[in-house]
């Protein structure tokens, strides 16, 4: 039996190669993601290990809570300078020096603010002790006065800065200009994972980063030969309450963990798309094996006649799948390594300069790639293998082996149940916010619909093919061919169905998100101009912006702050808006209690959703924790309708400023005076020294919000494109098999005078019908899923439900065209069939 299987595989190399391609692509995606993230993980771990290898201890304040943001570490408040003196006095301490960090953003020679595309723009202090400093000066000298600054090598190289030049820097206070004294590296890297570094001497850093008299942390060196554990204990005893001492290793660990957490978010996202591709690939495998088992009915029956057992036939089919899975997975693994290198280059293209490090290829990657690749292939082949087993030996003697109707009734029943279970899982998952359940539900829906699709395949193919049939005999034959085996038509288009369903889900979801973003701006902001940082990742901008924005014609200017606090033991986002001009710039619909007066009184305002879920009302007392001021209770002063700008929790600006260290505005809202003109131009002039800012009208702000959503959508579409490509490979494969199967028929058509062009048109018509069939079902399912997703996130700000009909129609048209493209090879092959050989083929 082994020999028969191997011979079969060797005879159908091309077919198997096409089928395997689906798996190869999926495995490439998975292994590429794993290799890349492992490499990054390893690089950062060793980078931080190196940087902190000489630091014995670090003294800092105790963590208030852990930040919610991806890769965000513990939220801490600075310690007073005096703590450094306390530490120096501890016996066994050779050296102790404070350090600070905060917001500082370079301005490029062309006057534009240098942004990073996500990574922070950091200002840090330089520790002159080479053993303690994580920074190495590679050109010039370290900053030594209030006029000097050093820059990371990555930024210096990219923007062609040279030592001795003047550099403008945006800070929490007014922008300042410094002389570039030197270029530094972070450990061995050009910069820190894409962040820009502005380096000052310690007193300058304290002053420009808004930390006068304070340190974020104090690095400590023990006297050589001292008992480090004893020194650590001694420091701990000497420290004031609220501060702690940890080893340098712990700090290195924490920092690399925090970056790796961000990475794992990234890798999870990529892996999700990799698994989507493999899922779609599974459909393709299933379909191919179903068709080939059908085509080999006689051969398999003959094997049964000469004595092969059912089990042997079953194993033979699975063995073929396993061999295919092994080969495809190994190829995918190899390509995955190449993909990782490519992705790394891509990240570099986005300005994320990564420290140099060897490519990390863990055994885990091999295991995952092989298990998943082979697993998907074999599992997909089980059902076709069972069908092979059901072939009676007598089929070898009869001309045709008809599929039994009974099994199709059973399939409908099973498919219906699976789809229903999927819908139930999805509904529960969405309402309970259980992502895993949602995923399982979606998979079950796809499987169920895939089983049900053959029922509608015939009528739908008939309708879809009608316009094609008008074009003549080729279209008519293509239509007939697509109606010939509803099961095959449905199975072939199933992969495309899944791809299109996901694309449509994203389209509906994205359109709703985009619309919600727009309308929520209208419902949240009454200001005429919105000033925000033009690049993401900067965290905020200078507090000196708001005064600068009070230009002539501006009736009201208010500053919006954002930060994290602990509410009822859950880390949440808190917003503050200048109380004075609240009503002029923000639309706050207070349902209970009061708005501005409550804020002025230092109370907390919450939205109706939070009030409902946490059972709070006006006057309720709630436990809150701030990093700077610790735990306390606040009174709920009012309950407002959900507001996209504010979020769930609102306090006054005064309250916010007194409870946060180094608070950075995230937006400044400007309302122009009635009849005032030229306010926008005045704002542009007034804020000329802040190139990191953009002044937008409300309409422009809405547009940029939409653009952000669309950018994200574009990325998701790009990742889903692979699944669609795999689905198309499935169509190519099926058409090739169909052409092979109908060799005789095509030969007959050619013999009675069908031209090659007509043969090609016939195959193409069939492909278009197949593609449209899958696409239509997919778009319908996807629209349903998108509506369900958007609806379930109503509380999270997706208030509008939009079905982007135009986009969906474009998807359908594109699918048809892609189907046409997928047909080109099979069509050429069919047209090139040798007529004589074809009609004599049996």
């Amino acid at each position: 039996m082994w020999k028969v299987t191997v011979k079969g595989i060797l005879t159908h190399k091309l077919r198997l190669a096409l089928t395997g391609l689906a798996i190869v692509l999926g495995v490439t995606f998975i292994s590429g993601t794993l290799v890349l993230t492992d490499t990054l993980h390893n690089t950062f771990t060793s980078l931080f290990g190196n940087v902190y290898q000489h630091v014995d201890f670090q003294v800092r304040s105790k963590a208030a809570f852990t930040s919610n943001s991806a890769g965000g570490g513990a939220v801490r408040t600075p310690v007073p300078e005096s703590v450094a003196g306390t530490v120096r006095a501890v016996p066994g301490v050779a050296y102790a020096e404070g350090s600070v960090s905060g917001y500082a953003q370079f301005v490029a020679p062309d006057g534009k603010a240098i942004s990073t595309g996500g990574a922070p723009t950091l200002g840090v202090s330089f520790d002159p002790n080479p053993e303690l400093s994580s920074l190495r000066v590679v050109a010039g000298h370290a900053p030594g006065s209030t006029h000097e600054i050093a820059m990371d090598e990555g930024t210096a190289t990219k923007y062609h800065f040279h030592v001795g030049e003047r550099v403008a820097v945006l800070l929490t206070g007014r922008p300042q200009t410094f002389t570039l004294s030197g270029i530094v590296r972070f450990g061995s890297a050009e910069n820190l994972a894409g962040a820009t570094l502005a380096v000052f001497d310690l007193p300058t850093a304290q002053s420009v980063l808004g930390k006068v008299g304070q340190y974020d942390a104090i690095d400590v060196l023990a006297t050589p030969g001292a008992d480090k554990a004893a020194v650590e204990r001694a420091i701990a005893r000497a420290l004031p309450p609220g501060t702690e001492v940890v080893t340098g290793q712990t700090v290195a660990q924490e920092q690399s963990n925090s970056i790796n957490q961000g990475l794992s978010f990234f890798s999870t996202a990529l892996l999700v798309f990799a698994f989507i591709s493999l899922f779609v690939g599974g459909f393709t495998i299933f379909n191919t094996f179903s068709i080939t088992v059908g085509q080999r009915t006689r051969e398999l029956a003959l094997l049964r006649i000469v004595g092969a057992s059912r089990r042997q036939v079953f194993r033979s089919v699975l063995l073929e799948a396993a061999v295919l899975g092994v080969v495809a997975s190994i190829v995918g693994l190899g390509l995955g390594v190449l993909a990782a290198i490519g992705l790394e280059a891509l990240l570099k293209g986005f300005g994320i300069t990564l420290p140099a490090g060897p490519l990390v290829f863990l055994p885990r990657t091999v295991v995952v790639a092989l298990v998943v690749g082979i697993g998907v292939t074999v599992v997909s082949a089980i059902s076709p293998a069972r069908r092979a087993v059901a072939i009676p030996p007598v089929a070898a003697l009869s001309d045709q082996h008809e599929e039994q109707g009974e099994s199709s009734r059973r399939r409908i029943a099973v498919g219906g149940v699976i789809a229903a279970v999927g819908v139930a899982a999805l509904v529960v998952g969405l309402s309970e916010q259980a992502i895993a359940l949602v995923g399982i539900g979606a998979v079950a829906i796809f499987l169920g619909i895939g089983m049900l699709a053959p029922v509608v395949a015939r009528p739908m193919a008939s309708v879809l093919g009608r316009p094609l049939a008008l074009f003549g005999i080729s279209g008519r034959l293509g239509r007939e061919n697509s109606m010939r085996s509803p099961r095959r038509t449905a199975q072939t288009s199933a992969a495309l169905m899944v791809g299109l369903a996901l694309v449509s889900t994203i389209a509906v979801f994205g359109a709703s998100l985009s619309k919600s973003a727009t309308s929520s701006v209208d419902e949240a902001i009454s200001a005429d101009y919105i000033i925000t940082a033009s690049a993401s990742g900067t965290g905020g901008f200078s507090q000196s912006v708001a005064p600068a924005a009070a230009v002539k014609g501006a009736a009201a200017v208010s500053t919006v702050y954002g930060g994290e606090f602990e509410f009822d033991d859950v880390v949440s986002n808190l917003t503050a808006v200048s109380t004075e001009h609240l009503a002029d710039t923000v639309i706050l619909r207070v349902e209970q209690g009061s708005g501005a007066p409550a804020l002025a009184a230092g109370d907390l305002l919450i939205d109706t959703t939070t009030a409902a879920t946490k059972h709070l009302s006006v006057g309720s007392s709630v436990a809150v924790t701030f990093a700077k001021t610790g735990s306390s209770t606040m009174k709920v002063g009012g309950i407002f309708k959900p507001n996209a700008l504010i979020g769930s929790y609102l306090v006054s600006d005064a309250y916010f400023l007194s409870h946060f260290d180094d608070p950075l505005p995230v937006a400044v809202l400007v309302r122009s005076a009635p009849g005032a003109t030229g306010v926008g131009a005045a704002l542009d002039r007034g804020l000329r020294s802040y190139p990191n800012l953009q002044v937008q009208t409300r309409a422009q702000f809405e547009q940029s919000q939409q653009a952000q959503v669309n950018q994200l959508l574009g990325l998701v579409y790009a990742l889903l494109a692979l699944a669609v490509v795999i689905a198309l490979i499935g169509i190519v494969n099926t058409l090739m098999l169909s052409v092979f199967e109908r060799t005789h028929e095509i030969g007959l058509l050619r013999a009675v005078g069908m031209r090659r062009r007509q043969v090609r048109a016939m195959i193409r018509s069939e492909a278009v019908i197949l593609a449209l069939f899958g696409a239509i079902i997919g778009v319908v399912i996807g629209t349903g899923l998108g509506v369900a997703f958007a609806d379930s996130l109503q509380q999270q700000g997706i208030t509008d439900l939009v079905i982007p009909v135009a986009s969906l129609v474009v998807f359908l048209v594109l699918s048809g065209l892609l189907g046409l493209g997928a047909a080109s090879w099979p069509a050429r092959r069919a047209a090139r069939l040798d007529v004589l050989a074809a009609i004599s083929a049996e």
Partner: protein, 253 residues
């Protein structure tokens, strides 16, 4: 409908098809097989000719070469005045579509099309207009009027072959090639089929070349050409089953 309106009298001088010094060799050197070893033959207009011979005699190869399905190694074939071997791919397709009709032993019809659609396939492929009168006439002659909306799987073998016959004749081709058309039929259906072919030749002036190995089938033809080992070994007019059988015996097959 009068027959003389639809079928132009054939000029006797010009054959419907002919082969001149036709050779077909498969393989090379020692292993070369001469399927056709220099055949020169003419098939007259309005004539029903049977080509007979044992397996491997080259009768199918002869037909394939004459119909432009296969290319000869040497020599030339003509359909009417058209030299087949000079045609390119597109020309061959047009030749098959417009001037030749085919009836095969089996798998004659496109399974997804109804009988009517199968019959009109060459017309549709050419994008030509259907001659409904001719269609009705053929369908009537073949007695398949009540089967037109059926698909091949819903018809008997004999009915399928009659549909194939109608398809072969629908374009009024210069020549119909029938390759063992009765090979898969019972004797009743075979008799009707052959009767129709003879009738087409005699009454409608349709030129037909039929490859067969059945002496009784050959007896329906007006002429029998005997092939063996790639050459013509006999030529008989007005055959009967007995005379054909006799000739076969003499040829030692």
């Amino acid at each position: 409908m009068a027959l003389d309106e639809t079928v132009a009298p054939a000029p006797v001088a010009l054959a419907a098809a002919r082969a001149v010094g036709l050779e077909k060799t498969y393989g090379k050197g020692d292993s070369a097989v001469h399927a056709l070893a220099g055949i020169t033959v003419e098939f007259g207009r309005g004539e029903f000719t049977a080509v007979m011979g044992p397996s491997g005699s080259g009768k199918s190869t002869l037909m394939h070469c004459m119909a432009g399905l296969d290319t000869p190694s040497a020599g030339a074939t003509f359909v009417g005045d058209q030299e087949v071997s000079r045609l390119d791919e597109a020309g061959l397709t047009r030749l098959r579509r417009d001037r030749i009709g085919f009836v095969f032993q089996s798998f004659n019809l496109v399974p997804t099309l109804t009988a009517r659609e199968n019959i009109l396939l060459p017309v549709d492929l050419a994008g030509a207009k259907v001659d409904e009168d001719w269609f009705d006439f053929l369908v009537g002659q073949l007695g398949i009027g009540d089967r037109l909306s059926h698909r091949p799987t819903e018809m008997s073998g004999g009915q399928q072959q009659r549909v194939a016959c109608a398809r072969a004749l629908i374009r009024r081709p210069d020549l119909v090639f029938a390759d063992e058309p009765t090979g898969n039929l019972d004797s009743n259906a075979a008799g009707e089929m052959l009767g129709f072919l003879r009738h087409s030749a005699r009454e409608l002036g349709q030129s037909i070349v039929m490859v067969t190995h059945d002496p009784r089938g050959a007896a329906y033809a007006g002429r029998v050409v005997f092939l063996a080992d790639g050459t013509i070994v006999g030529d008989m007019s007005d055959p009967t089953a007995e005379s054909v059988l006799e000739q076969m015996k003499q040829l030692g097959t």
